[in-house]
Amino acid sequence: MPTTTQKSAFWKGFAAGAPFVIVVVPFAMLFGVVATEAGLDIFETFAFSTVVIAGAAQFTALQLMQDHAPVWVVLISALAVNLRLVMYSASLTPHLGALPVWRRLFVAYLIVDQSYACSVAAYEKSPQWPLMTKLAFFMGTCTPVLPLWIAGSVAGALLGQSIPPEFALDFAVPITFLAMLAPMLRTMAHMVAAVTAVVLALAFAGLPFNLGLLLAGLGGMIAGAEVERRVTRLEVPAQ
């Protein structure tokens, strides 16, 4: 089997992250536009996207400020939208937890939907990769996505307009994530986890603070783990 060097792992990660450019650029530009309309200057918009790197939470914070919510409500609500990042961190820990602290600090800062989804998909396919190869892949996935998140925010703020809705780029988000998801559905347990999560996400869509997403994610994880446990017990009968 060909070995994956760190350099080639970085470029594999880069290729895995690249399709998300069509998602990140319009979304970032839209953030720049909305932030400018809310009164942020270019430097504040740049800092917001650089420090927080979480689109949905940034939009939530802006919206609540425009609704004149108290500042603690702004912070708590936007952080609630980001609670899924805890699950991403937990899910990456078996793969990247052995890194030295300063590298873990850096990885943590760079955890977003795209870097997480691409990396976990690759780690499940190649669990034998050494630690530094896994890190190189993760850094590769961030490289096309995160600089463009920041640049796109600034571009939106400067231009004052995003990509027109006729291009239907709103739907790039579901398409890229579904394309990412499909190859990960390899077992019955994966399927059950995904279907459970979809049903719960739709059922709980009305809950505030994005809590429906969290409940659906946890419900899907429990369902998947339970199916795996039962299947394993059937395959390996007690001695």
Binding site: G39, T93, Y109, L213, M221
Partner: protein, 112 residues
Amino acid sequence: MSSDVTQDYSIWLVIVGLGAGSFALRYLFLGVIGSRPMPAWVLRHLRYTAVAIIPALVAPMVVWPAATGGAPDPARMAAAAVTLAVGLISRNVIASILAGAITLYGVLYLLG
């Protein structure tokens, strides 16, 4: 458009607070657990994080797209179904993105 939020809020408090809070969420497990072994049942659940959270993230966007004001839209439904189907069959991310995009623009064009 609307009011200037920087008049009413310390925008830097929001930026720094949200940045620090988000970082804490991202670092929680990587930093606190690190390389310590986790129990088998926890690892078993974590194996399903991605396949649960990604569909949960996407499902409402497919069923109630923001672009149509939340009205279910045949073009977006078809595009999502084709993306998933091509992905399951081909296991190829780029092929399924292209198939989904062609379906989306194709149906949007046909339905005018």
